[in-house]
Point group: C2
Chain length 236, copies 2
């Protein structure tokens, strides 16, 4: 056995093992021993890579989050790259992107199960919540951009999304993201079929796209005095 081992590679392998275990027994089923076995390394190696179990979990969450983000933005990029026909692409891209976030095939279902396990733990573990927030914050502008492109012929110049942070596209993006997560959850517990979830998602996207008027919101949205940005503690 070589004296020097690629640590990053090993960390990733361990993260994969964590996900695999979390997938079939939840986060409670993730123990150092099982992780080591599953990853095909010794327990000592795991402990060398991560000082503590929580550190390992945080890394694993970040790992799977990165994979999701990459997959999603790949989808989005794929569209931008071949954007020759301004016909109906953005809406479909949105659907595929959010479907990517959410469910469809079994592989993604597994990922979603792991994700959900982490989300639940994050509700009582600030460190994990921070990682999740970062990931969601990454996804948000991407959705805003796609939404913007799908509604107006003249998209916003480049990176900067024109108006304020609680302008309509932001709202719509948040709504879609939350909806996708909710649908995923419902699919995972068997309350909805993946097909139904996708249909609902698609319908929502279409509604949001067709509903152009960003300004004219009904009067009762004034619930909170200042809607503010709606996003708290983005990084830190």
């Amino acid at each position: 056995m070589p004296r020097q081992v690629d640590h990053e590679e090993r960390r990733r392998r361990i993260a994969e093992a964590v996900c695999a275990l979390a997938d079939d027994s939840g986060l409670e089923g993730v123990t150092l021993r099982d992780v080591a076995t599953r990853a095909g390394v010794s327990m000592g190696a795991v402990q060398r890579c991560f000082k503590t179990k929580q550190e390992m979990l945080v890394f694993a969450l970040d790992h799977i989050g990165e994979r999701v983000t990459e997959r999603v933005s790949a989808r989005a990029r794929a569209r931008t790259a071949t954007a020759d026909e301004p016909a109906e692409p953005a809406g479909s891209t949105l659907a595929r992107v959010l479907g990517e976030v959410a469910l469809v095939d079994e592989a993604q279902r597994a990922e979603a199960r792991v994700w959900l396990a982490f989300v639940a733990q994050a509700a009582v573990t600030p460190e994990l919540a921070a990682v999740l927030r970062n990931r969601y914050s990454e996804l948000h502008p991407l959705l805003v951009r796609l939404l913007g492109e799908s509604r107006t012929a003249a998209p916003v110049p480049d990176g900067g999304v024109a108006p304020g942070p609680d302008h309509e596209p932001h709202r719509a993006a948040r709504t879609l993201l939350a909806l996708a997560d909710g649908l995923t959850t419902h699919v995972l517990i068997g309350h909805l079929t993946p097909q139904t979830a996708l249909t609902l998602l698609r319908a929502q996207i279409d509604t949001l796209i067709r509903t152009n008027p960003p300004a004219a919101l009904p009067p009762h949205t004034a619930g909170g005095p200042a809607p503010a940005n709606g996003q708290e503690a983005p990084a830190t």
Copy 2:
């Protein structure tokens, strides 16, 4: 101490303890000993009430689910009772009902945390998933009814919701439920503020209500050959 103890009362007390513990450390933090301590009974008593830990968890989930359902339908009933002004009530009721499902104050936040913990576990524990499905299935027709009342002046006669199971109100109800859950999740991990979540929810409700045309769906919803009912294994 009396020889005969109210078992049901005790079970409920234990369920409350389970929820309290799950609230501040997730489901992993729920151990028989801690539950016993928190409930103010001995461990033996807990074991007498529930043959196994899982049985206890299932009961606890059902308990909290019942509480939520009751609260929600109380909201709905409150409206129906005082329904003298057909002005704008149903929409607000919907908002309040779904807000009830979701978040708002800290007490409900705690409930949501517990709920989320159970949902995550349910993704890998069929028994829990079954309980959750039942609860969601209970909520669904209630939302359908409220939606129906809010869009048409002539609501459906009584219990029977007129058209097929994938008629628009059903879709809308599922969308709202999923959205509420997704928003709750995002609030719990600190990605959204409760205010933002409520605003988004309210906006979605208004959109769904104003979008009357139930039939004319865009062409691409034909993803699945038969949208069917979208609800699988409701009871068993």
